[in-house]
Symmetry: C2
Subunit: 213 residues, 2 copies
């Protein structure tokens, strides 16, 4: 495992398997086969086995996987056996939506703070959070130890925000600004471009038409 | 090409190459090598060549690709040689953010209408759009021919919205509700789960720590 490079698609599916296992566990189900996982999340059983094989040997032939063990193991692999506090930078429509986004407040994540530079936004409440001035980021992260920054500001401010976050100990950035950030090698960045998803839809519609399906 | 199955990761990268080519074209650049595309978007040159090979023979050895031709071809493959009108269903924070989302109003896409069922939201303006009652969807799509529906409503309303969209001729759905929709086979659906992106970040941080990098 030490020198293995795990494809991002495998990590994405692992995250999805992990939620499925949580659901099984909540419903009191104790064992599951790769076929059942596959059916539950919509991939092939071979894909499930191949993905899990990156991380070791699981399951017993003919019996399947222990749900609780495999769930815990996937959480550990995904780094979710610890707590990750997020800060949202930018309290526009997108920032507002992200503060209350379900998936940002489960499975070890929580939104600890939201920041903006706009005086008309500072002090506004979003759920249980109050929009704070971006200047106060160093002070806030002193209390909260913010580990992940979510950038939801316009292009022109995004690099400056990234620099500030990194200078103040943020380890990873989820970037919604449609531009590439310059960051040091030790910082993890993922860009979210929702329009790529649209183009997958239109590709598939066109491709299917070309195949006369 | 007829019976080929193209991996979704390839389509995702094709969408990214296509934007990069647009940028080159805007800057008056006429030829580009796979190495330059690779560097511009952050993948390996072999990956670029492999991805493009799914769709035919491009470029001239030692010369590279004609930017304008390859750009047009990628747009055609992605189904972006035609216009796609979107409707956003749900005018909460997320719906608001999506209506004005840059990527939803370029490259053949445009947000034609936004709907909600909440009387306090109907009639509100978002940019140049006015929130319309969901009941009026059939009438609106009669004028606008809405092809893609973007579901930004809570879980409990999502299936009903999907059914209404499909009944009224929508071909594809981008679903932000954290649940699996039941749709007929001929409807393309992609789910957007932003928390998966967070888990890729935490996986990479943990994995890197395990490798002592």
């Amino acid at each position: 495992m030490k020198t293995l490079r795990v494809p991002e698609a495998t990590v994405t599916r692992l995250s999805i398997y992990s939620r499925f296992l949580e659901r099984l566990d909540r419903n009191g189900i104790t064992t599951v086969s790769s076929g059942e996982i596959a059916e539950g999340v919509g991939v092939s059983p071979a894909q499930v086995r191949k993905d899990l094989a990156y991380f070791g040997e699981f399951g017993t032939r003919g019996v399947g996987y222990n749900v609780k063990d495999l769930m815990k193991y996937t959480l550990k692999i995904l780094g979710l056996d610890q707590t990750w506090s997020l800060a949202i930078i930018g309290a526009g429509n997108l920032g507002f939506a992200l503060c209350t986004y379900y998936g940002f407040n489960v499975r070890g994540f929580y939104v600890a703070a939201v920041f903006d530079i706009d005086p008309t936004k500072i002090g506004k409440r979003i759920g249980k959070l109050e929009v704070q001035p971006l200047d106060s980021f160093p002070e806030v992260t002193g209390h909260e130890h913010i580990r992940i920054g979510v950038i939801a500001v316009p292009i022109r401010g995004a690099q400056e925000v990234a620099d500030l976050l990194i200078k103040n100990g943020v380890e990873a950035i989820l970037n919604f600004a449609p531009m590439a950030l310059n960051v040091p090698d030790h910082i993890e960045v993922r860009n979210v471009d929702l329009s790529v998803k649209l183009e997958i839809l239109t590709f598939n519609l066109g491709f299917r038409a070309a195949q006369n399906l």
